[in-house]
Amino acid sequence: MDIHFDKVEVRFEGRTVIHPLDLTLSERRIGIIGLNGSGKTTIARMINGLVKPSSGRVTVNGFDTLAQEDEARGQSGFIFQNPQNQIILPLLREDIALGLKSRKLSKTDVTAAVDAVLDRFGIRHLGDRRAHELSGGELQLAALASVLVTQPKILVMDEPTNQLDIKNRNLVEETIRTLPEDVIVISHDLNLVEGMERVLLVRGGRIAADGEPARVIGEYRAMHGVPA
């Protein structure tokens, strides 16, 4: 991935949420940690263009998220904290197909693409099920399938293991590890981010630490008096 934050600042209702930020993200696995309200989700949402910088610019694989919104958004997929919010249509198969609607593909091509992405996660049997019938882990895999059907190069995941039991957490963590796409994970799950190549610690809208996971997680624990 090739993501650049160039003097990016985000202000909401007169309050600075992200202080001037210069950042380059190029690793294949990046974790973002920090307390609730620290600004980590805002940073992640800027990659998908869901949050616009008040000043400065964000480029994703060379595309400006403001000037080339569609192209930049096409580079990344975003998985929400609550996958329920991500599933738009009731049946999983038709929800996944919805992501391809505007590509004007033939019905056969859409069906093939939907089957391929369901097979990729081993959930073809869930295709005709309704979202509310799925377990937490299945729902997270369904959200992944609905995003990856459009073949983004980068996947941004906001708390992917939140609200999952130990079995489903393990399933989702394993899936994330084996994804061929570049992944940025925002998480409170320190076990998950420990396996990343690089970890960013966000505090008060600033990058408080950045680098090798063990060191950054260690700083995070020390900062809040949590023993390892």
Partner: protein, 201 residues
């Protein structure tokens, strides 16, 4: 999220969504031309038989009809009071038949098929540069998607009242219902943007 669609392989399920919607439109017009309560009662009965043939249980039929039941009864009562009993019965059976036929269409058509057919129907307007057909299809699809969800939310809020020993009152139900529905609509809008469903050229 819940869905109004019911899995099946009946003749109605296999009929193209466009044919079902066009037929429903014609039936609606015919129902408004008929003003004999007995005939309209037969039409409503036909709607019920249709549900039975689809093996939709009585409880499920009631669940689907409940949102309209109050409107049907209120309109029929008003009509009966101001125009007479026959007119009241006419209004009752006409609206009941309409709701039942519409329910047959939603039970046998997926939201995706609704979106497809409405998008196609709106294409002439897109060619005239009036609107984007895909937006119209998506909007209608989302309306259909939200109907059962609003019902589920209503039940959750009502149960929350009972759980706290409170008697549900219209205002204490409607306010949180509107707030949670608007919040959910916002989240869906963000998801539509995030997945690039509208933005791709």
């Amino acid at each position: 999220m819940r869905s109004l669609h019911i899995e099946g392989d009946s003749v109605l399920h296999r009929l193209p969504a466009g044919v079902k919607l066009a037929t429903l439109a014609v039936i609606s017009l015919v129902l408004f031309k008929i003003d004999i309560p007995g005939l309209l009662a037969v039409a409503a009965l036909a709607g019920l038989v249709g549900h039975a043939l689809l093996r939709i249980s009585t409880a499920e039929i009631w669940h689907r009809m409940r949102p309209f039941a109050l409107i049907v009864v209120v309109v029929a009562l008003f009509t009966a009071v101001f125009s007479g009993t026959t007119e009241g019965l006419t209004a009752f059976f006409r609206l009941a038949a309409l709701a039942l036929f519409a329910s047959l269409v939603t039970a046998t058509t997926t939201t995706g098929d609704f979106i497809d057919v409405i998008t196609k129907a709106a294409m002439p307007l897109e060619r005239l540069g009036v609107l984007r057909a895909q937006d119209v299809g998506l909007s209608i699809g989302l309306v259909i998607r939200f109907v059962p969800e609003i019902l589920s939310r209503y039940e959750i809020i009502r149960d929350a009242h009972y759980a706290r020993g409170l008697k549900p009152r219209p205002l204490s139900i409607i306010v949180p219902l509107i707030i949670t529905t608007l919040r959910s609509a916002d989240e869906i809008a963000v998801a539509i943007d995030a997945r690039g469903i509208r933005s791709q050229k």
